[in-house]
């Protein structure tokens, strides 16, 4: 069995992070991976490859859509954007994540 990596722990939240990143502007896979890395100040060491399954899961749920486009340096790339469903999903997920994180924080603060 492959050993557990940090990304495994965070895989569930990766979908949320992807949504959050796309809430700012439509972006391609590489850009999303870069943003997550930057925003988390390299704390979230997600394998960059893991972004794509997360994108796909989100797309299957109808939270994002994709289309091929051209980057600023003239390369063909697949751009992802949030859908209306995705916006609502992001709000729900953010709320529930905050609740969850706060609860964990509370418990950790006790000891």
């Amino acid at each position: 069995m492959p050993k557990d990596s940090p990304s495994d722990v965070l895989q569930g939240t990766l979908d949320l992070l992807v949504l959050k990143t796309l809430a700012l502007e439509p972006m391609h896979g590489w850009g999303i991976a870069q943003r997550i890395k930057q925003f988390s100040r390299n704390a979230l060491d997600v394998g960059q490859g893991s972004v794509y399954p997360a994108l796909l899961r989100n797309e299957h749920h109808g939270w994002i859509t994709s289309s091929w486009g051209i980057t600023e340096n003239n390369r063909r790339a697949k751009y992802y954007r949030l859908t209306a469903l995705g916006v609502r999903q992001l709000q729900q997920e953010t709320a529930s994540w905050r609740k969850y994180a706060a609860a964990v924080e509370l418990i950790l603060a006790i000891s």
Partner: protein, 896 residues
């Protein structure tokens, strides 16, 4: 989940499934874009292009793993995986074509053999008879002697009485088969006729295809000139047109109206029947008496009546008949389910075949299992590598199962093709005397069962190694390669399987040896006649033209007179019964030099035939004592008989029977009421003894025989047999034989022409077929077992290369290494052989009655077959052993 999003999800997955290639292409392009961007980024931060590309890849993570995850996320995974599994399995099989071919052929042989034999067994034994409610149909037999309660045929008056007095039956019909001479388009032909009581069709519950069945009144003499044709005769002899109904056909020189044609499925009592005629007796008929027992009876048990109740009802009725007619020979009656009766002797032989095939199937499955196990063990490292790069355990198990499935599917295809071909071969080349053989066709249930078994074997033995191999510490597997405890466990299992195979192979080998030796013994049997150069034919005498003994024997004399003038013929004879052909009948026997028996029951019997003067010379029977018939024996000289050795031994074990007197009937006072006043059976003197002729079949024990000249008898035969010994090729005589017969009677066909040698061959055909079949099985089984043993030894060598190399490096001699490997194979074989030998000894006892001319515990068989097996096993282990001894030790030690 939101309903809309549910739909979107489902839509995405479906799309993904149907546009798999497009999705994959998109994905590839996305990855490429990603890697390019990352590489550019890395270069900008100062890496060399090569290092930048590498770093990008590392950052991205394992691409294969990513693809797997991606596919998981797509959710179309199961089907895609299945397709990928099949592709992978097919590629894997193609990469090792030897293994794949061996496995597929093995499974194919197993499935094919089992299906074919099961189809035959099913067609003959299990399928219901083609009659309405066949389980209610029974054969009814007369039991005529308390001494000898063998089921016997009945007489017309007894049949009528039983039909009237039983209450447990819807109805009882009677029938007997003989032949009829018919004129078809002006040509005299002999038809296999069934004479049946007019209710036969109703009792069987069958209707004609066209026309009608018999009416009740057509069973009365005078109304009886109607005929129903079999489908085969209608198509083959009468043109197959429905205009046949109402036309007239001359049967035994009388015009019969054709009233019906039976459907193709009608084969009663067997497929030979060509024409069915009503059984009707002329008022002065001599056969319509209680002295003639020739009728077969078939009854339909009343609905709701058990067979036991019907049996006791039958016994009650028989007792009443006997009480009213003390002159009847019947003592009681017995019923036998018609299916048992139809199948008869074939049952045991067919079940034996089925057991043999089952053994073969088991061996085949074991072989495939062994092959898969060996492969799996060899793939331990491959599986460990795949798991460490991220393949899940379930995925690998599924992969191995897929391989098993693919193998069994291919095996099943080969098997079904094989089964179809061999069933075709069976029906064409199989022995003609197995009943219902021509009804056999490939049985779908048999195909299903065989496929299920092979599936179970292939999948079962795919899963088991998959479980053991993918569990546990993969690192160890990677380090150790093939030398781990699981592989040793596999080897144990494999050895067990191979032992079982060897046991079964030995069982089949011993069986085939017993049957082959029986067949050889049969060929060596002294038939009591010299078959070479003798041609035979039958002459069916139509009762209308030959109403009495005098007329028929005049005909025989006239034919013989013409044949004796023929220079191509050494001698010729006419007889009422001919060896391997039939016609014999039994007679009661009273010996003048004995005290008389106390009752009719205890009177001995002997087979009896009427012959012409030259009979013994013509068939080549040896007179061993006394003399043959001579010219001094004429119609008006004292009556003489010749008896066979068996009879001489039986009645005069310590004295010569020559000169003693006997007569062919009971002591007159026993049946005085039925005889004319003052009647005495002719007293006959025994003048000679001949060597036993094998009458029924080459492997049938001869009984007592009495030969009498027909010129000295008033007996009468409805079929005469002609035998002629040729100076040259016997079949060259046929034209002159036919001409001689036509000269005497131009309506007389020369029927069933066959040389004596042909008859001999036919008589052993069934045994030859059986022996060949089981030998083929045994050979296959042996081959498979040897392949199995070879596998075990080869695997042993592969796994212990290192150990063997060290031994050799330390100075072990080649012989020791060879011995070490061979011991492995031989040990496995010995365990199997001991079990197999024990089973074979046990089985041979139970099938002793299927053997001929050898003891069931046949020393040759039980010494030779293990020896053959061991030689084969030794050869199979020798190969890997020698290879092991030739490995340069240094190479092995370096490579690990």
């Amino acid at each position: 989940m939101h309903p809309l999003s549910l739909i979107a999800t489902a839509g995405g997955r479906l799309r993904a499934l149907f546009r798999r290639d497009k999705v994959e292409a998109d994905l590839s392009e996305e990855i490429r874009f990603h890697l390019e961007m990352e590489t550019d980024n890395n270069i900008r931060s100062g890496m060399s292009p090569v290092a930048a590309r590498r770093a990008a890849r590392i950052e991205f993570g394992g691409e294969e793993r990513f693809r797997e995850e991606h596919r998981d996320a797509r959710g179309s995974r199961i089907l895609e995986d299945a397709i990928a599994d099949v592709r992978y399995a097919a590629r894997w099989l193609l990469r090792s074509p030897g293994f794949a071919l061996a496995a597929i052929l093995t499974l194919g042989l197993g499935i094919g053999g089992t299906t074919a034999v099961f189809s035959v067994v099913d067609g003959v034994l299990l399928k219901p008879l083609p009659y309405a409610q066949p389980d209610r149909l029974v054969g009814i037999w007369s039991l005529n002697s308390q001494l000898d309660p063998e089921p016997f045929t009945s007489s017309p008056p007894d049949f009528r009485a039983l039909r009237e007095r039983t209450t447990g039956f819807d109805d009882i019909a009677a029938h007997y088969s003989n032949s009829a001479n018919a004129l078809v388009s002006g040509e005299p032909v002999r038809l296999a006729a069934l004479r049946a009581s007019s209710n036969l069709f109703a009792v069987l519950g069958v209707r004609p295809l066209i026309g009608r069945a018999f009416r009740e009144e057509e069973g009365v003499y005078g109304n009886h000139r109607v005929a129903v044709l079999s489908h085969a005769a209608w198509m083959g002899r009468f043109g197959g047109s429905s205009a046949i109904i109402g036309s007239s056909v001359a049967v035994d020189a009388e015009p019969y109206a054709v009233i019906g044609v039976m459907p193709e499925s009608f084969r009663f009592p067997d497929r030979r029947t060509e024409i069915v005629l009503p059984m009707a007796f002329a008022p002065d008929s001599r056969t319509n008496t209680r002295g003639n027992y020739f009728l077969f009876m078939v009854g339909r048990v009343r609905g709701g009546t058990t067979l036991e109740r019907a049996q006791s009802d039958l016994e009650r009725a028989a007792r009443q008949v006997v009480a009213d007619h003390p002159e009847s020979s019947m003592k009681s009656a017995r019923l036998v389910p018609l299916r048992e009766e139809t199948v008869g002797d074939s049952r045991r032989a067919l079940l034996l075949m089925l057991a043999a095939t089952a053994a073969l199937m088991a061996i085949a499955c074991a072989n495939v299992a062994g092959l898969l196990l060996a492969r799996a063990a060899g793939r331990r490292r491959e599986l460990a590598v795949r798991m460490s790069v991220g393949a899940s355990r379930g995925r690998l198990i599924r992969q191995l199962v897929t391989e098993g499935l693919l193998l069994s599917a291919a095996g099943a295809a080969v098997g079904i093709a094989l089964a179809a071909a061999s069933v075709e071969l069976f029906t064409v080349f199989g022995p003609a005397d197995i009943p219902r053989f021509d009804e056999v066709s490939i049985d779908t249930r048999a195909v299903m069962v065989s496929i299920a078994i092979s599936l179970l074997a292939a999948v079962g033995f795919g899963v088991w190694p998959a479980l053991t191999l993918t569990g546990g510490d993969q690192n160890q597997a990677l380090r150790e390669g093939a030398r781990s405890s699981t592989t040793r466990q596999h080897q144990r299992l494999r050895r067990l399987i191979v032992s079982g195979q060897v046991a079964l192979a030995l069982l089949l080998l011993a069986g085939s040896s017993l049957f082959l030796r029986s067949f050889v013994a049969m060929g060596n049997v002294d038939p009591g006649f010299r078959a070479e150069n003798v041609v035979t034919a039958s002459l069916p005498l139509a009762t209308a033209r030959y109403p009495d003994a005098r007329r028929s024997w005049e005909f025989a004399d006239a034919v013989l007179l013409r044949l004796q003038a023929n220079p191509q013929i050494t001698t010729a004879a006419i007889t009422s019964a001919l060896s391997l052909r039939g016609g014999q009948w039994g007679k009661m026997l009273t010996l003048a030099d004995r005290t008389l028996p106390v009752s009719l029951d205890q009177i001995p019997t002997a087979n009896y035939r009427l012959v012409s003067h030259d009979y013994f010379r013509t068939v080549g029977a040896r007179v061993t004592a006394g003399r043959s018939f001579g010219s001094e024996d004429r119609g008006d000289s004292p009556g003489v008989v010749v008896i066979n050795e068996t009879m001489a031994q039986k009645f005069w074990p310590n004295a010569s029977p020559l000169g003693t007197t006997l007569w062919l009937g009971p002591p007159e006072e026993f049946i005085a009421s039925r005889l004319p006043p003052g009647f005495r059976f002719p007293r006959l003197t025994i003048v000679g003894i001949v060597a036993d002729e094998r009458f029924e079949a080459l492997d049938a024990t001869p009984g007592s025989e009495v030969y009498q000249l027909y010129s000295q008898s008033t007996e009468f035969a409805s079929v005469l047999y002609l035998a002629a010994r040729a100076k040259g090729e016997p079949l060259d005589l046929v034209t002159s034989l036919r001409a001689a017969v036509r000269e005497v009677d131009n309506t007389m066909p020369l029927a069933e022409v066959a040389t004596m040698a042909q008859l001999k061959r036919e008589s052993s055909a069934r045994r030859r077929f059986g022996a060949l079949l089981i030998s083929a099985f045994a050979l296959l089984a042996l081959t498979l077992a040897v392949v199995g043993i070879y596998g075990v030894a080869a695997q042993f060598v592969m796994h212990r290369r290192r150990e063997l190399a060290i031994r050799m490096a330390l100075g072990a001699e080649h012989g020791r290494v060879v011995g070490l490997v061979m011991r492995e194979g031989l040990l496995t074989a010995i365990i199997g052989a001991v079990v197999g030998l024990a089973a074979a000894l046990m089985l041979s006892r139970t099938m002793s009655d299927l053997l001929f001319g050898i003891q069931p515990i046949d020393p040759l068989t039980f010494v030779l077959t293990p020896v053959v097996l061991f030689l084969a096993v030794a050869a199979a282990t020798m190969l890997p052993a020698r290879r092991a001894a030739q490995i340069p030790p240094a190479d092995v030690l370096r490579s690990e």
